[in-house]
């Protein structure tokens, strides 16, 4: 993430959370936090507990974020960059805030012709390949909950097809009740992921197992002479397993239900 990207990312985040940006020159910005944001970011539970207990006027803080390294020392504020604890704290807040969604395509019909909207389930998934090394991959799956069609880059498709989405059902539109339950949709995606993984290139896992076997062999030889293997042998053995054993971890970043018109996701 470049410093410029971080700058606009923060601006977007704070504006969306109703904080007033009091000053912004592209190099640093001063944000007046709301009470909610202060509680989430400033880590001062005692202050808030106290204010609420005595019913005093709350005074949420103002922060200046510096995104241009050249401003350091010239401007009073917090330098923020990729890797700075503050940015990761904000990422964590966002991940909680942006986890679950339900949206409608903004297509209104007329009193005589209501627009039908079809339910899609979207899961944005992180697949992690873990041994003593690690690699991740993101995939955005979408299942049409009427006919079972699956799309592999659902999130990007929403943008390439320029679909206008709104939080409330538009006028003169109606939604179909899913024929496939969301639970089944999720199951189908899980199955799909398992099938994908089965046909993946497993060199990384085989290599990890080789490294594991090498160390395990040395360990066995080290304790060979001892009649009864000491506890330490088992500790080391378990540690090798924790270190090398290849595994795949699948987690859902966010997702939800999108009601879209029938042909909206045909690529243009």
């Amino acid at each position: 993430m470049q410093q410029q990207e971080i700058h606009s990312y923060l601006k977007n985040f704070f504006t969306t959370n109703n904080c007033i940006i009091e000053q912004d020159n592209g190099k640093y910005m001063t944000v007046q936090l709301t009470i909610e944001m202060d509680k989430l970011l400033m880590n001062r539970p005692f202050y808030w507990h106290y204010i609420e207990k005595i019913g005093a006027e709350p005074n949420p803080q103002k922060i200046t974020f510096i995104t241009d390294f050249n401003e350091l020392g010239k401007t009073k504020g917090e330098l923020i960059h990729f890797g700075s604890p503050r940015l990761h704290q904000i990422f964590n807040v966002i991940k909680k805030q942006g986890g679950f969604i339900r949206l409608f395509e903004n297509k209104s019909g007329s009193p005589n012709l209501n627009v039908p909207l079809y339910p899609w389930l979207c899961l944005n998934v992180k697949i992690s390949y873990i041994c003593d090394h690690r690699k991740d991959r993101l995939q955005s799956y979408g299942v049409n909950l009427m006919n079972g069609t699956i799309i592999y880059d659902f999130h990007d498709q929403l943008f390439t097809n320029q679909i206008h989405l709104v939080a409330k059902m538009p006028d003169f539109a109606f939604t179909f009740t899913p024929l496939i339950k969301p639970q089944s949709g999720i199951r189908r995606i899980k199955q799909l992921i398992e099938n994908e993984i089965a046909t993946d290139d497993h060199t990384w896992a085989e290599d990890a197992k080789k490294r594991w076997a090498e160390d395990a062999k040395l360990l066995d030889a080290f304790f060979e002479d001892e009649e009864e293997r000491p506890e330490r042998y088992y500790i080391e053995k378990e540690a090798l397993k924790n270190q090398y054993e290849p595994k795949i971890h699948v987690s859902i970043i966010n997702g939800g239900i999108f009601y879209l018109t029938q042909h909206s996701l045909i690529k243009k």
Binding site: M1, Y9, N12, T16, N17, L79, H81, F82, G83, P85, F91, I94, K95, Q97, G98, G99, F100, I101, N124, Y129, D132, H133, R134, K135, D136, L138, A167, P182, I186, K190, I193, I197, H202, W204, A205, E206, R211, D215, L218, D220, A221, F222, E224, D225, R232, A239, N242, Q243, P246, K247, I248, H249, V250, S251, I252, I253, N254, G255, G256, I257
Partner: protein, 563 residues
């Protein structure tokens, strides 16, 4: 291939609940920002380092980056980092730890360092690496702190020991790991029983005396890598260095040793000056009385080592020798008349001494330097005296020693940096504090272990030192000090050497600890002449070892520093 796939279902439960309740739902904007955050946080490749991207302010040196990458990619996260002093082993360890944490492979971390270094590690990890490390304090919970820094002495004590050994650590770092070279110690046993996935051992001197030391270190890290203890001893027992090609290769698979000359960093110069000092008449009388006593009544003290200690102390300050004499008297059960008489006569001579010649010289030097100066002494009594003496002459100083609590050490360093002109340290206090803002050092008395002298100089001659470093070595004329300095340190060019070179030479010597030899020479020699000859022999041995070194590995390197 059968692979273990784990689905995290926590999202699903909340989602289904929200479906039932019809919300509340996220804002579309935040939904996109959350995905964008994750896109930036994913690890795109098994290889390479992510950490530098997270640490734009750190600016690690090329050899540090290279080391981190090698440890992770080729050594599977288990390594001995054995860079020479001052090349930034802490930075390398921090980079490696950070990388594993970013990759989500490490969460629970235990960092064992000498007590004097705890706060420094905590500070560096937090400020340079944004790693929320915490120094252990009473009532902190081992279970609930993810990154804990503590001393091995604290960790191995009950009840901590039992708790720690139950925990599964993802990563263990042990600083000054040469202290674990002996596999029969409790420290070693403790380190051995830690549950750990990844592990780093940091030491500037992986082998100090015996080849088994490297076996013990490697076996902590990777049991079996060098075979069993028995096999190893059979093969290498009679060797004192790692000349064996096969053994060298094996060790290089788990150890990285960067040397100064390999790093392409421009080091500031090191200028060493010997200052010989005449004892005053009264000081001389005291010193000679001890020497004479040694020749006549050695049996009274039944420990020749004590005499040597007294001689060395007499070269430092009357305060130092006074404290020792008093302790000897207090401790003796039914002191013999001879013994009491000896102490009595010594005390009388001490009382006659009016000036400390070395301290006078130090004062003169400090005044002419007119800048920050570090004084090292072996004796606490000398330290206290010097502080008082300098104060009499309007010079502010801070004392520093090993027994200080962490907070106090940081505070003392701060005081020196911002307020005082002189920093007076004893040996134990010297370990691991970094004072590169100062470039003058007086060795008020010299340690007999050259490694310790390196450690002292390493406090100021390290990365970050911008000026040439000036070292002033004090030695009193015609005393044991002068012998050490002239015959040993100067003859083997100790001071002009590149840091870390000497330890390599010393390990080549087939006779064990240098310090033991010195003590032996000074305590058993009957005459001055005999002592000189023995010293000559010792330095000749060192020179021999050095020539072996030059003919061997480094013949092509063109060692201008060695000439």
């Amino acid at each position: 291939m059968e692979l273990n796939i784990h689905f995290d279902d926590s999202w699903i439960e909340t989602f289904l609940h929200k479906l039932e309740q019809d919300g509340p739902w996220s804002n579309w904007n935040l939904y996109n920002l959350a995905l964008e955050a994750e896109k930036n946080l994913i690890i795109p490749d098994f290889h390479g380092l992510q950490a530098p991207k997270f640490l734009p302010e750190l600016k690690p040196l090329p050899h540090q980056i290279e080391t981190a990458q090698r440890v992770i990619e080729n050594m599977n996260g288990k390594a001995i980092l054995a860079d020479e002093v001052g090349l930034g082993k802490t930075i390398e360890a921090g980079l490696i730890l950070k990388e594993y944490m970013i990759r989500g492979l490490v969460k629970k971390v235990l960092i064992l360092v000498p007590a004097s270094l705890v706060s420094q590690w905590v500070w560096e990890l937090n400020s340079k690496f944004h790693i929320p490390a915490i120094g252990y304090r009473k009532n902190y919970s081992w279970e609930h702190t993810d990154v804990m820094v503590t001393s091995i002495d604290t960790a191995k004590r009950s009840p901590h020991k039992e708790t720690i050994l139950e925990l599964d650590y993802d990563f263990v770092i042990i600083d000054e790991a040469h202290k674990l070279k002996n596999h029969k110690t409790r420290n070693y046993e403790f380190a051995q029983n830690l549950k750990k996935k990844f592990c780093l051992l940091l030491t500037a001197t992986p082998i100090q005396n015996r080849i088994e030391e490297i076996f013990n270190l490697v076996s902590l890290l990777k049991p079996g890598h060098l075979g069993t203890y028995k096999e190893f001893l059979e093969k290498y027992k009679n060797k004192h260095s790692v000349d064996d090609k096969h053994l060298k290769e094996l060790i290089n698979k788990v150890m990285i040793r960067n040397r100064r000359q390999d790093t392409k960093i421009e080091w500031t110069k090191r200028k060493v000056e010997t200052i010989l000092i005449d004892l005053s008449k009264e000081e001389r009388e005291l010193y000679d009385a001890i020497t004479k006593f040694k020749q006549e009544h050695n049996e009274i003290l039944n420990n020749a080592f004590s005499i040597l200690t007294l001689q060395r102390e007499a070269c430092s300050s009357k305060e130092a020798i006074f404290v020792t004499l008093k302790n000897m008297l207090d401790k003796a059960e039914n002191p013999s008349k001879n013994f009491q008489q000896f102490i009595q006569s010594m005390m009388e001579l001490i009382q006659k001494i009016q000036v400390n010649s070395k301290a006078e010289k130090a004062l003169e030097l400090i005044q002419s330097i007119n800048d920050k100066v570090i004084i090292f002494t072996e004796y606490r009594a000398t330290q206290l005296y010097l502080q008082w003496y300098l104060k009499q002459h309007g010079i502010s100083s801070v004392p520093f020693r090993g027994g200080f609590r962490r907070g106090k050490k940081d505070w003392m360093k701060e005081l020196f940096q911002n307020h005082a002109q002189v920093f007076i340290a004893t040996e134990a206090g010297g370990e691991g504090i970094n004072l590169q803002f100062c470039n003058h050092m007086i060795n008020f008395d010299l340690p007999w272990n050259p490694m310790r002298l390196e450690q002292r100089i390493g406090r100021i001659h390290r990365l970050g030192q911008e000026k040439d470093v000036r070292i002033y070595n004090f030695a009193t004329k015609n005393t044991v000090e002068e012998h050490i300095l002239k015959l040993l340190y100067e003859k083997i060019n100790l001071f002009e050497r590149v840091i870390g070179e000497l330890d390599e030479i010393l390990t080549k010597l087939e006779f064990g600890k240098l310090e033991d030899h010195l003590i032996d020479i000074f305590t058993t020699s009957e005459t001055e002449g005999e002592m000189k000859i023995k010293m000559e022999n010792l330095t000749a041995m060192i020179e021999l070892a050095e020539s072996i070194k030059e003919d061997g590995n480094y013949a092509t390197a063109g060692n201008s520093q060695l000439s």
